[in-house]
C-alpha cells in the first residue's frame, strides 16, 4: 500500500489534526510519508478520527502531545520523534491560534499568546529539527502563513504580525540553509473553510468572501496540495518563496 512518492519520508505537522493541518496530514500520508501530528490534548482524539478517515494509510499516522509555544517542549517532542523514526525530512509549521480584538482593546497577554504559538512556535520547531536536517543534508520546511500576513486585518494585529513575521523567518532560514539541501518556503492561504474561520461572525465571513475575487472560501485540500507540492523531492530549487492560495484576494 505504501508506495507513494513520499515513501520513507518522516514529516512533522504541527496542528495537523484539524483544519488545514488535517488536510496536510492527509495529503502527506496519502503519498506515503509517515506523519507525526503535534497537538494539544484534545488533538489526540481528533487524530484518531483522522486516522479512521485515512483509507489504508492510517498506520502512517503518529501523535505527539505538546505546546509549540515552549522551546523545551518542542525539543523534547523532536527528540522523541527522532528516537522513534530516526530522522525528520519534512516540517510543516501549521499550528496557529487567533485572539481577535482591536489594538485598543487587545491585552498584552492576547498579543503575546498569538505570537508565542504562531511565530515563536515555528522558530522553536525549526531550531529543534535543524541539526538533524543539516546532518542529513535534506529538509523541506513549510510555514503556513496567511493572506492576513500580507494585508493586515481589522481586529487581528497579533495574528497579522505573527503571520507576516513568518515570511521574514522563512526567508532568513532559507538563506541560511540554501547550501544544505534544505528548502524553506511559506504557503499563504486566503480565507479557508475551517473551524477557525467558521468561528468568525457571519458578517465578517461574508465580508471576506466579498473581498475575494473568486467569491468563495478556499477548501483545506486546496491549501494542502500546495504544501505537498513543496515537500516533494523535486521541489529542491524552490526556496524562500511565498506561494499564495487565496482566490485572488491579495495580489
Amino acid at each position: 500500500m505504501n508506495q507513494g512518492p513520499l515513501k520513507g519520508r518522516v514529516a512533522i505537522v504541527t496542528g495537523g489534526a484539524r483544519g488545514i493541518g488535517a488536510a496536510i496530514t492527509k495529503a502527506l500520508t496519502h503519498d506515503g510519508a509517515r506523519v507525526v501530528v503535534i497537538g494539544l490534548q484534545a488533538d489526540r482524539d481528533r487524530t484518531e478520527t483522522l486516522r479512521a478517515s485515512l483509507n489504508g494509510t492510517g498506520s502512517l499516522l503518529h501523535f505527539q502531545e505538546g505546546n509549540v509555544a515552549q522551546f523545551a517542549t518542542c525539543q523534547a517532542m523532536v527528540e522523541r520523534v527522532l528516537a522513534e523514526h530516526g530522522k525528520i525530512d519534512i516540517l510543516v509549521n501549521n499550528a496557529g491560534i487567533t485572539k481577535d480584538r482591536t489594538v485598543r482593546k487587545m491585552t498584552v497577554e492576547e498579543w503575546q499568546a498569538v505570537l508565542d504559538v504562531n511565530l515563536s512556535g515555528p522558530f522553536f520547531m525549526i531550531k529543534a529539527v535543524l541539526d538533524n536536517m543539516l546532518a542529513n543534508k535534506y529538509g523541506r520546511i513549510v510555514n503556513i502563513s496567511s493572506v492576513v500576513g500580507h494585508t493586515g486585518n481589522f481586529g487581528q494585529a497579533n495574528y497579522a504580525a505573527a503571520k507576516s513575521g513568518l515570511l521574514g523567518l522563512t526567508k532568513t532560514v532559507a538563506l541560511e540553509t540554501a547550501r544544505n539541501g534544505i528548502t524553506v518556503n511559506a504557503v499563504a492561504p486566503g480565507f479557508t473553510r475551517t473551524e477557525m474561520v467558521a468561528a468568525m461572525p457571519q458578517a465578517a465571513i461574508d465580508m471576506a468572501v466579498s473581498k475575494t475575487p473568486g467569491a468563495r472560501l478556499g477548501e483545506p485540500s486546496e491549501i494542502a496540495r500546495v504544501v505537498r507540492f513543496l515537500c516533494d523531492d523535486n521541489s529542491g530549487f524552490i526556496t524562500g518563496a511565498v506561494y499564495d492560495v487565496n482566490g485572488g484576494m491579495y495580489m
Binding site: 475575487p213 526556496t239 518563496a241
Partner: protein, 246 residues
Amino acid sequence: MFKDRVAIVTGGTRGIGAAITTALTQAGAHVAAGYSKGKDSAEALAAKVREQGGSMSVHQGRIDDFNDCQRVVDEVLAQFGRVDFLVNNAGITADKTLRRMTSDDWRGVIDVNLSGAFNMTKAVLEHMIERGSGRVINISSVIGETGNVGQANYAASKAGLFGFTKSLALEMAQKGITANVVAPGFIGTEMVEAIPKAALDKVIEKIPQRRLGRPAEVARVVEFLLEDESAYITGAVYTVNGGLDM
C-alpha cells in the same frame, strides 16, 4: 491527468518552453507549441515527443503581431477543437545598458515578452470565457522582481507581466479562468548559457543555492498550476529561483 486537454505553449520548442511542452505532453495533453525561428529544432522536439507517445504540433508565428496570434489560435482551434491552457513563455533578450540601448532594442523585447502575452491571451480569451474554464500562465523572471544591469527592457517586460497577470486574474476570477505567474531564477537554458562565463559565475555566486535551476524544475510548477485542483490559485506569483530574490 491532462487527457483531452489542449495547451498552447509559446516558445514551446526550446529552453524552459520545451521542458513545459515535454511535461504537459507526458501528462496527456496535446501541446500546440509556438515558435518564431528554428523550424528544424521545433520539428525535432515534436518527433521526440511523439516517439515518447505524446501529442504535439508546432505552429510558426509572430507573437508581437496580434493578427498573427489570432491566426495561430484559430489554427489550433480548427485542428484540435479547444484550448484549455495558455502558457506565455516566449521571450527574447537584447541586453545593453540603458545608455546604449536603442529604442528598437527596447521595443523589440517589450513587443515579444509583454505584448506577446497580451496578444495571445486576447486571441484565446473569448474561447475560454465561452467554455467557462481556462488556465493562463505567464512566465516572468526573477529579473522582473529585482531588475538587472543591462536588462532594462527585459526587466520591464517581465515586471509588466505581473501587472498584466493580476489584472487578468481579477477580470476572470468569476469565469472559471485563473491567471498566474511563474517566475524562474537563472535556469540552465541556451539563453543563460549565452551569458559570458565570467558573468555567469558571478550570477551563480549570488544564488543562495549556488547552482542554476533545471528547465524541468520550472515546468513542474507550471504543470501544477494547470491542474483542475489549482482553481483557488489566481493572481499569484510562484517563484522558482534557488533563493535568489530574497
